[in-house]
Amino acid sequence: MADTIDLKSYQPPQVGPAQIRLLERLCNACAVSGDEQEVRQIVLEEIRPYTQEVRIDSLGNVLAIREGSEKRRLRVMLAAHMDEVGLMLTHSEEDSFFRFETVGGVNIQALPGKLVWVGRSHVPGVIGVKPVHLVSPEESKNAISLEALRIDLGPGNGAKANVGDRAAFATSFKRLGASLRAKALDDRLGVANLIELVKNPPANIDLLAAFTVQEEVGTRGASVASYSLDPDLAIVLECTPANDLPSWDGSENNQYNTRLGAGPAIYVADKNTLSDPRLVRHLVDTAEALHIPYQMRQPGSGGTDAGPIHRQRSGIPSISVSVPGRYLHTTTSLCRLSDWQHTLTLIHTALTRLTPEVLAPER
């Protein structure tokens, strides 16, 4: 197919200092599932100057529309989730200790000794654990249970938090050379990418942006968002785990999911979605035409907002694309600037060369 755009003169949005500062604000904000207002506030601030068509639906999704100007426009939903995994205070005890539950997929073993921010005023706390000196050999064989952990706010600070408050990992954003370190890169990278797309929408499509809630507890926001937007197709902007460390025994790592530095990760299949093959082809063709690196996310477990979106109404052709990130759902996640840039380039270019003909053949 002849290209609808001249890739040599085409300039996709760039990841520069302003974009990195915005990602920093987004990552340092706390938005554990169900309490996304801090991130929502930043999203609204950023996109309102660019479009009048913004609304917040009953679950808290931010839905924004930027209509294109060309004829024969596809209505394209782009989704990125605002929420992050974290903890919820469930029970207060004496001396400012709180019991807690996990919200979304959190590894209990990665919690002891970590710092958290509690509630909307980010009250600093620490997740207490028995000192190793006092752990018996018998105890040390067992996994640490959630019941054994407490959030410790320190004397006199118990009143600053309430049962039901969320706690987020207290990790400040930092650039480390070619890498970025932060909590909640999953999915603030998607949110940052979507904000850039709202600011720089291709004229050939109607861009229907959905900044979704409650993804980490079961892709709940995207389900209702896609019902109301009712698009022709959907692309989910994600951040997916890179488990690309060497194997302990030196054998070839064949379960890496994705790899850092290998470019945007295109989804073929996860637990909840078989990506639309026409969209897989379109993204792969675009990456190859651009001569940028890309990788296929390993098919297997996991799920994104594409799960409920593609089954909504009479069916919506859907796909997900991720920036790969290491150590997701822990206090500290790590990504590469180059992967971020290539992902933004891939998505923007793919949208710019998206025509109704892409969906003309039967799935």
Partner: protein, 338 residues
């Protein structure tokens, strides 16, 4: 009927990649339908009859969705190692113990053999992560498949007289029943939507959006069900060759009892052998139809099948022929339900 079933089972069409199956069905149903269309998820919808607008509860006819799924269980490549072996994951309910030593067909042509890591050779069934596909090459570069490519069991159709054996009888016999019913149906008071669905094996993902789009008054699925008639088998009433089974319930759906009665009385009027099905594991597209929009009365006509999800699923020809007779009768007359 045997030739039709053989043609259908020999097609490779794992979930999400039903293109070849759809082409084969389209060739059969286009002369039989008033309209044929394909929706966003790839469901093939063949419509017969049309109700006047303002249809509900007026006149004799109803809008009925009849679903059989095009997809079969399969494998998807997750990694090609440096020696050219392909690692894979499952599409749908693949049983690991049915794989080692088997062969798989990729939809774009290559054929491979399934091998198992040495360390997995114990008394326990190996896991999928311990298996690989050997495509007869020695390097990653020479490997003819890529991450995301899909394959299904390679296995010949076997004609044992009344009993037929093949991979993917689930649900190609359902497809055959729908096609043959369309052929036999002389006239209908209804608006019939024969839906050949996608992605059933990965969670009824095609049927739900199809049902939303069609918005039927009544829904039926035609699919296979297990039996309890082999040595040391699980307890289950259904037997091969005792007639098509009218589903009472499965793990995720309770059939509308009015639909069950309607189906059973038609079978009795026709003096057709039939049986009732209670399936403890698994479900069908009927569940997706039942839960669509504000809810739809739904049921399922099942073809008894041994060794489901193995490369050698066994069905009985007369169960299939009787299912066609029953379905044809159900769809040619006014629906009478209490």
């Amino acid at each position: 009927m045997k030739q039709l079933i053989q043609r259908l089972v020999e097609i490779t069409a794992p979930s999400g990649h039903e293109t070849q199956m759809r082409a084969a069905i389209r060739a059969e149903v286009e002369p039989l339908a008033d309209e044929v269309r394909v929706d966003a998820l790839g469901n093939l919808i063949a419509q017969k009859g049309r109700l006047p607008s303002g249809r509900r509860n007026e006149g004799e006819g109803q809008r009925i969705m009849i679903a059989a799924h095009m997809d079969e269980i399969g494998l998807m490549v997750t990694h090609i190692d440096e020696s050219g072996f392909a690692r894979f994951t499952n599409l749908g309910g693949v049983r690991p113990h049915s794989l080692p030593g088997g062969r798989v067909n990729f939809i774009h042509g290559p054929i491979g053999v399934i091998g198992v890591e040495h360390k997995a050779a114990t008394n326990e069934a190996p896991t999928l992560a311990q298996m690989f596909i050997d495509l007869g090459v020695t390097s990653r570069e020479a490997c003819p498949v890529r991450i995301g490519d899909v394959a299904c069991f390679e296995r010949q159709f076997l004609d044992l007289g009344d009993r037929l054996v093949a991979k993917a009888m689930d649900d190609r016999v359902g497809i055959a029943v729908l096609i043959e019913t369309m052929r036999q149906l002389k006239s209908t008071p209804h608006e019939l939507h024969f839906v050949f669905t996608t992605q059933e094996e990965v969670g009824l993902r095609g049927a739900a959006p199809a049902a939303f789009g069609i918005d039927p008054d009544l829904g039926l699925a035609v699919d296979v069900t297990g039996t309890g008639d082999t040595p040391q088998d699980k307890k289950m009433e259904v037997k091969l060759g005792q007639g098509p089974a009218i589903k009472i319930r499965d793990a995720q759906m309770i059939s509308d009892p009015r639909v069950v009665d309607w189906m059973a009385s038609a079978a009795e009027e026709l003096r057709l052998p039939h049986q009732f099905e209670i399936l403890e594991a698994g479900s069908t597209d009927a569940r997706a139809i039942q839960l669509s929009r504000a809810g739809v009365p739904a049921g399922c006509l099942s073809i008894p099948c041994r060794y489901i999800h193995s490369p050698s699923e066994m069905v009985e020809l007369h169960d299939i022929l009787n299912a066609v007779k029953l379905l044809t009768r159900l769809l040619s007359e006014k629906v009478v339900m209490p």
